[in-house]
């Protein structure tokens, strides 16, 4: 079966890593993001940006895993932020109240500037 989420990581930046998603964030997709995020945290990265430009659909199980990552980040005094959400994904994140715990930015540049300053 395909339809699986593809991730690309850019960890060659100063002070933050960007994770790019491509596809559906469901159970497995969320877990894949968590795996990659925890790997980056292990390596000492405390600032993560999830660029969701390649994602049109997220389900609530996927979101619940994202909330777990946010929690972990709060514990270690790190930061997790999102950018390039579709209006519907942004709306869904607001319904869940995620915006209180994680930054949501329209584009990558704004996110990076705000997170690293």
């Amino acid at each position: 079966m395909t339809e699986s989420l593809k991730l690309t990581v850019d960890d060659q930046r100063d002070g933050l890593s960007v994770i790019y998603t491509d596809g559906y964030i469901n159970n497995q997709g969320g877990e894949e993001i968590a795996r990659v995020a925890y790997e980056l945290i292990e390596k000492g990265q405390k600032c993560l940006l999830l660029n969701l430009a390649g994602t049109k659909i997220v389900n609530s199980i996927g979101i619940s895993i994202l909330i777990e990552i946010i929690e972990k980040m709060l514990e270690i005094d790190g930061k997790l932020a999102f950018c390039r959400l579709t209006p519907t994904i942004e709306k869904t994140f607001h319904i869940m109240g995620l915006a209180q715990y994680a930054g949501i930015y329209s584009d990558e540049e704004t996110a990076v500037t705000s997170m690293t300053s």
Partner: protein, 139 residues
Amino acid sequence: MQQVRLTLPMIPNMELTASKTACAMGEQIGLSPDKIDEVQMAVVEACINAFEHSGAADREVRILFQVLGSTDEPNGLEIIIQDGGGGFSPDKIRPRDTEEILNAPRKRGHGLRIIDGLMDEVEIRSDSEGTTVVMRKMR
């Protein structure tokens, strides 16, 4: 009235077939792309609830897509998602706030809130014969 029926097996990712059908119907009646996205996500949530919680013996979800208004002037889309599972008491499902979710051991309980938030109207009928979620999105 214009009706499309879809019957899906309860298998992971089948919710995407339902959401694509919803997309095609939404385009058909001229819903805006953002509203179509909202319908697609709500359909996904309703399907995975049926997959995960219904316990239906036939392992099938039945979906009816219904165009509201006239054929010439459709004014919305009604989607009825039905399973033959054990049902639940929608009134007893209390919306949890984020604080509570963050502190709960399992981070769940979002599906119905998402459906409510993304659709214009939602009705849930559930008893021991199964669950029917009726949701509407107006143009």
